[in-house]
Amino acid sequence: MSNAPTDRRYAKSHEWIKDEGDGSLTIGITDHAQELLGDLVFVDLPEVGQSLDAGGDCAVVESVKAASDVYSPVSGEVIAINDVLDGAPETINEDAFGDGWMFKVKASDMSELNGLLDAEGYDALVAEEE
């Protein structure tokens, strides 16, 4: 059972993306995703300035079990990364929707957000998987 925050959108590949209202979008993985992965021990983030394609792999999260790709839900340019994760990848386990954010982008086409799931849609997806 998931309970996704309603202030953001979701990709089927378990990333969340939040419009900060200042032209930037914050991206991370969902609480459900971190739970599936187990204890995270390493996070590889994109570089600031890197340009991303919607659906392209741009980061890696590695747990004690396995490595998993993270896909950018939208196209755009990376404008910030969460440096905390380098020394403390477990932040994602502890607070996937908050302090465990991964990177921020400036989207090249805000309408790409419309193709993503809302909280209700994402919860339904998780319920279906379980």
């Binding site: 204890d39 390493f42 890696v60 004690v64 079990k65 490595a67």
Partner: protein
């Protein structure tokens, strides 16, 4: 349909995430694999290892049979309850399985073999028993619980019978029996502790009593990182039927003396022993960023020199560590290819951590 151990309802009750392993549904963790790992290094944890198979070997021919079957020599076992780690080889010198054998009497030995290899092992052992007078009895009536950690013994002993409480005095790799209960000072974590065989119908109560005594349930996830840190091989990953013990860091388990003992696989092993090209089994500590995983390729300059057999994250070292099989001329470091990038790693001699702390100076 996977098999379930008698402790399966306890695992469900204690919130285990259950996964298929070697034909069984087993706990991967009960919440956090990392916490379980630290619990064993610092206090006491318990593992359900009932999926492994206990086999009793009894009869007048058992001793000569085992000296033929195993690469290590059970003639080294002189005291009742003494245990020996050995590989069982095929005729090509490849490893059929790795196991522990206990000496219980001149006509009674007990073996513990891996879960996923059980049927194959029993067929092989049966086949090799032709001409020896003995009986093989898989003890499927027994459950097995490993209690490991610096406080494992002190938390376990009060729960045992008066006779078995003497297990506190056991030296490493020794065992004590009381009826069908069997307590061995062995393990797969690099910590002090016991592996305890329990009659199946008593296992759930004993598991609960251990839990009440402050022993935390731990899953296969922590078991894997603990054994990796402790420098212990995993069958099917670090060695299999195509790999000899000499290329899996297990040369120390092969008893070459006495020379006249003709154990299965001896001849090809003798030849390989002299081969300067035989692969080396090493430890690696990742010095760059990332996590070492099974099957990642290793390079020295542009030359591919081998691959990782077991890799993962070491919670004790807070670094990624691995075992690898490489060409014999490997230097003090090499590169690992992780997602197309070369990342440097230091070559070390396992173990990485035991008795609660790192044993490598990094």
């Amino acid at each position: 349909m996977n098999k379930q151990t008698v402790l399966y309802p306890k695992h469900q009750q204690m919130g285990a995430k259950l996964v298929p392993f070697g034909g069984w549904d087993m706990p991967l963790h009960y919440g956090s694999q990392l916490q379980e790992h630290h619990q064993v290094r610092q206090d006491a944890g318990m593992f359900d290892v009932s999926h492994m198979t206990v086999v009793d070997l009894q009869g007048p021919g058992v001793k000569s049979y085992l000296r033929h079957l195993l690469a290590n020599d059970i003639d080294r076992l002189k005291n009742q309850g003494k245990a020996l780690y050995s590989c069982m080889l095929n005729e090509q010198g490849g490893v059929v399985d790795d196991l522990i054998v206990y000496y219980l009497g001149d006509e009674w030995y007990r073996m513990v073999v891996n879960a996923g290899t059980t049927e194959k092992d029993l067929a092989w052992m049966e086949k090799q028993s032709a001409g020896f007078e003995l009986k093989l009895t898989p003890r499927r009536d027994l459950a097995m619980i490993a209690v490991q950690g610096p406080n494992a013994k002190s938390k376990t002993l009060p729960l045992l019978s008066e006779k078995l409480q003497q297990a506190g005095e056991l030296k490493p790799f020794n065992a004590l029996a009381d009826g069908d209960w069997f307590v061995a000072s062995t393990g797969y974590t690099g910590e002090d502790g016991f592996e305890i065989m329990v009659p199946g119908d008593r296992a759930a109560d004993f598991w609960q009593a251990l839990s009440d005594a402050g022993v935390a349930p731990c899953g296969l996830g922590a078991r894997d990182t603990l054994r990796l840190e402790a420098g212990m091989n995993l069958y099917g990953t670090d060695m299999d039927e195509t790999i000899s013990p000499l290329e899996a860091g297990l040369a120390w388990t092969v008893a070459w003396e006495p020379e006249e003992r003709q154990f299965i696989g001896r001849e090809p092993l003798e030849a390989q022993r002299k081969d300067p090209q035989k692969k080396k089994f090493i430890g690696l500590v990742l010095t760059g960023r990332g996590v070492l995983r099974n099957h990642l390729k290793l390079f020295s300059g542009e030359q591919e020199i081998g691959e990782i057999t077991s890799g993962g994250f070491s919670p004790t070292l807070e670094r990624s560590i691995a075992f690898a099989r490489v060409s014999p001329d490997v230097g003090e470091s090499c590169d690992v290819e992780i997602r197309g990038k070369r990342v440097p790693a230091q070559v070390v001699k396992p173990p990485f951590a035991r008795q609660g702390k790192a044993v490598l100076a990094l």
